[in-house]
């Protein structure tokens, strides 16, 4: 029971209520007490572990500084890590051959490592866990074919994102870290594309899909500006958490995009 001097918070939702905030200030102003009942903490997202339920509140990225750009990368790595984690746990995974299983397991390992490393680098500045749409994920992992198709889209999108955002980083140490990651994403992309070619998707000419003319033009790989990457992410339907750019990069030198195919 709350009165003017003692506020008792029994439910987590109370913390979001304006009336609660007013009463906090009032109670504190007159030397009162705020009592947090233990039960409210059970409702909290376990935001620290990267695997807890995602936040449904919109996430806004400030790309005018490196923290925002690294968070942008962290968002993408969250998505990839969650996808491959779901893949490795799926019924489709059990039907894959040895090579496919090795590739999927490796990609799961690497993307989780990317996610956790970026989370550690960001520390308290990291964005919350993104909530995924379970129906979209379930459809994506329903068969080996759909797994590989989605994997290709993710990897080429990751390469596009790092290649487009790298130039906005202001600290050379962050640029180096991004560089260490993007080449691994490109290795992944080549491997998935090659796997899919081996399963019957044609390369023109054969055995060129790993670095096909649809992604490498004039010798240069795909790149997308952050807004275009996030538009693609949104269109996949994977991410429930609205993800938006609050501030654009400070020094905008957008170069022409070179997009990977929308439907791999």
């Amino acid at each position: 029971m709350s009165d003017d001097r003692t506020i008792v918070v029994e439910r987590a939702e109370q913390l979001w209520e304006a009336s609660t905030r007013r009463s906090f200030l009032k109670a504190l102003g007159i030397g009162g007490a705020i009592v947090m009942m233990p039960g409210i903490f059970a409702a909290c997202n376990d935001d620290d572990n990267g695997t807890g339920p995602g936040s449904s509140s919109p996430v806004t990225l400030d790309l005018s500084n490196d923290t925002g750009i690294v968070n942008y990368a962290y968002a993408l790595e969250q998505l990839e890590a969650a996808f491959y984690t779901a893949v490795v746990g799926s019924a489709a995974f059990n039907t894959m051959n040895t090579e496919q299983k090795e590739v999927m397991t490796d990609l799961r390992n690497h993307e989780v490592a990317h996610r956790e490393l970026l989370a550690a680098v960001l520390g308290s500045a990291k964005i919350p866990n993104l909530a995924l749409d379970s129906a979209t994920v379930a459809t994506a992992i329903a068969s080996t074919n759909s797994v590989l198709k989605n994997a290709e889209a993710f990897e080429d999108l990751g390469v596009s994102a790092y290649n487009g955002a790298g130039k906005y980083l202001q600290d050379v140490n962050n640029l180096l870290l991004a560089g260490k990651i993007v080449s691994v994403e490109a290795r992944h992309a080549a491997a998935i594309r090659d796997l899919r070619e081996g399963m019957g998707l044609s390369g023109t000419p054969p055995n060129t899909r790993f670095a096909g003319d649809d992604v490498v033009v004039g010798g240069l790989d795909v790149k997308l500006e952050p807004s275009d990457v996030l538009a693609r992410v949104a269109s996949t339907g994977f991410v429930q958490t609205p993800l938006a750019i609050g501030k654009s990069p400070t020094v905008t030198s957008p170069t022409p995009n070179q997009a990977p195919p929308t439907t791999p």
Binding site: D48, N49, G50, T51, T85, E99, E102, V103, T105, D106, R108, N109, H110, V112, A113, E116, L117, A120, V159, Y162, N163, G166, K167, Y168, V172, L175, L176, L177, G179, K180, I181, V182, S183, V184, E185, A186, R187, H188, A189, A190, A191, D194, L195, P205, P206, N207, T208, F210, A211, V216, G218, G219, L220, D221, V222, K223, S253, T255, P256, Q258
Partner: protein, 314 residues
Amino acid sequence: MKEQMTILGGIDPEISDRLVSRRDAIRQGATVSSRLAAGLALASVPVALAALSKDAFGQTPADVTDVINFALKLEIFENEFYKAVLGISSSSAQNNAFAAVRAQIPAAAVTAVQQIQKHEQQHVDFLTAAGAVNTLNLTAASFDFSGGRGTGTGPFARATTELAFLLATAQGAEDTGVRAYKGQAGRLINNKTVLEAALRIHSVEARHASKIRRLRRASGAPAVVKYSGTVSGGGSAAAGAGNITPAPPQAVVDAFNLIYAGEDNVTQAGKVVTSLPNLPSGFDAAAATEAFDEPLTKDQVVAIVQPFFIPSLS
């Protein structure tokens, strides 16, 4: 794009002329650091000059020039290598050298190598259009792909007669390229246009490297050569040359040790990757090394590739 690429053509050795206006500096892609801006605002050319030339990590226009000139050398090297392998080099001597192994390459691998060579030629063309200069006047004849500095009898000679040896050599070349670009990228931080282009070339080399690993693993290379195309572990072990029989000579092992030096790194941004939270069960040091590629310094790259260049790189 081409218009943006002539930026370097416009940079004079006497950069003082270029510091007349703040707008010029921005158009050239330099970040306007506070010292530089102050120098320009005060119309104090010496101050601005000093600020530009003493940027942290040496990220000046001169650095950009040096980086793309160096990149051009490496791209010419790769391009001439693959042309010789394919028998389309302008040098009949180089084509003949690879005749024996060329006949062993399966058709599927030939098209993959053709795609790779196409890109290396495009890289040479792109860098040249961006203002890179072939300062050593490298031609097809400038290279000894046996790694013998011109003798033709270097430790990589078996790449001309044995497919497994050839593919391991190509893998080493591509991985060196990836690491070289990564090591130089920081010097481009003040030129967004060139930096982005370098990143986009760098990721293509990584695709190449991945495909060659997959080709090798499919034809008997050991399991350290991953189907994901990533580099597992470090030093010569990361080359995964165990399927080459007889075993490569010590000089080749030494070369692989240089090419993959430091790739066994498990610490990133001061964090031990294997100690991070929420890692899946089975995640080991090998996975940690695969997830991140490492840079090489320019000196390290020169040490690796010099035996293949007849003229001196230093």
